[in-house]
Symmetry: C2
Subunit: 298 residues, 2 copies
């Protein structure tokens, strides 16, 4: 499988490593705008070669776009213009409505499978790429009826090669759920970092950070290039999620301020339920080595 | 050293394990209100024996109070009433002003060293106790001039036996800094859990949680018994920290909503500074195996 990865960073690089190791990709060509990242990807053996977009894409069996989502908006139509008729295109962007709207009427729309892997770290660039980043995680595939069956099948095979499970949603459902479960935690971490940096000295933050701060604020280290356009493209749902979050913070603050002891306990105990949710109690999801396909019903 | 640990849970149990292992404690007596925890502490070998408060305390060299902070308010005066004149008392509570005020005029006040270790996990009970929980972390010692020198020295020796570094602050400084660096992240996590539980189905949260949600919300699993009285006792500073956080979240939301692209980038890049702060760049703190004592200057 001749595979092209556009944007060789944390996500693209990690995919390249595992797709090669699993035998899914026999030849990996990287397309990378940043010279430094391109050189690093070659040095680390993540890509076999680097090439300009047009040259790389025209002979590919599979093109994976893993750039920031603002760059995707520009690149995806061009990629679809330039692929051969049999090729499959997928992307790993965290926002899906804007992107799928941008190519809704493209003559090669059925070659394209919009996707989003729920995996990552707060680091970026080819040096952050790691094996098994995706294993056991969920890949969201959007609007699957809009993709040709052979292209959908190839994208599914790719995710299975990465050890992922697949969830199917509409672009709109994915953008809403991802706003709450991924974009909101990032916004919350950025704002927490800003609040604490505004009020406490560096020395004190460093010394006291083990009191729970470290894990809560980890995502605030995440790259601006990646996250700035995500917030912009998923504006409506991110603003909605922030409003819901602020409302819950205000409830929590009011219960403390107004010394509503029972109310405060209720809020903490309700939040404690997240333990059983995250541990998958009473969960229909069968965790095993076999990957499988699952449909959300709303 | 005959050591009494009042409250054998995550913190008390972890201290007992390491104090025994290091040779600092030769005999550990547990005092525990919950029968289940008492039995578990004996079964796990965390305590040599369990005893009622009065009996345990009267023959102790060192008494460590690790109960929730509301229980401490009741117990600490009684402990000071009952100790022998040479004994040292310390506590591991996360809030210090209320507690130190409660024993300000106690005739044994100089036997007492108020302290707070910046270490923990989201789990609780003796089964959550673990070795090396405290190694390399900071112990805050408050109002050290109010403690007798021999009692201060013993508490310092105990923290060094745990592998901890020590920071000295007033109770007021500790409550303010801890509000921002520990209590606020817990409140933020509780509210995040509540917001997401209110808006998304369990199944979707479970499946998508690897997108950064897991680490940001981890602290929302923390025990209500422990955290409810912390928020109540540190009410003023926790409310202040929540107000600052909400203000920063509103700024973040407004930048997204109003499509202020440069402003949003500034907020993200400012938050990114937390990486260098947490990694201790340009930091005066000398990290090595030797523990040492350091004074904050404000």
């Amino acid at each position: 499988m001749k595979t092209v990865v556009i944007g060789i960073g944390l996500i693209g690089g990690s995919m390249a490593k595992d797709l090669r190791r699993s035998g899914f990709a026999t030849e990996i060509t990287g397309v990378e705008n940043l010279g430094e990242h391109a050189a690093e990807a070659l040095r680390l053996g993540i890509a076999d070669r680097m090439a300009p977009l047009g040259e790389a894409v025209s002979s590919a069996d599979l093109v994976i776009v893993t750039t920031p989502v603002d760059v995707m908006l520009e690149l995806l139509p061009e990629v679809l213009d330039r692929i051969s008729p049999h090729a499959t295109v997928t992307d790993m962007g965290s926002v899906k409505r804007r992107l799928t709207e941008a190519v809704r009427n493209h003559p090669r729309r059925r070659n394209y499978v919009p996707a989003h892997p729920m995996a990552g770290t707060e680091n970026s660039g080819p040096s952050a790429a790691m094996e098994d980043l995706f294993r056991g995680k969920i890949a969201i595939v959007c609007d699957q009826e809009m993709s040709g069956p052979q292209h959908l099948a190839l994208a599914e095979k790719m995710f299975h090669a990465l050890g992922m499970n697949i969830a199917y949603m509409t672009s709109d459902e994915q953008d809403h759920s991802t706003a709450f479960v991924s974009h909101l935690p990032h916004a919350a971490a950025y704002a927490l970092a800003n609040a604490v940096l505004a009020k406490e000295e560096r020395q004190i933050i460093f010394d006291l950070a083990s009191g729970g701060f470290n894990s809560t604020v980890r995502l605030a280290k995440s790259s601006c290039d990646m996250w700035h356009p995500i917030f912009e493209q998923n504006c409506d749902y991110v603003v909605e999620s922030l409003n819901v979050y602020i409302k819950h913070l205000e409830q929590f603050r009011d219960a403390i301020r107004d010394r509503e002891s029972c109310r405060l306990a209720d809020l903490i105990l309700n939040a404690n339920r997240i333990r059983s949710v995250l541990e998958g109690e009473n969960h229909q999801f069968i965790k095993n080595e076999e990957t499988f396909v699952k449909l959300y019903t709303k």
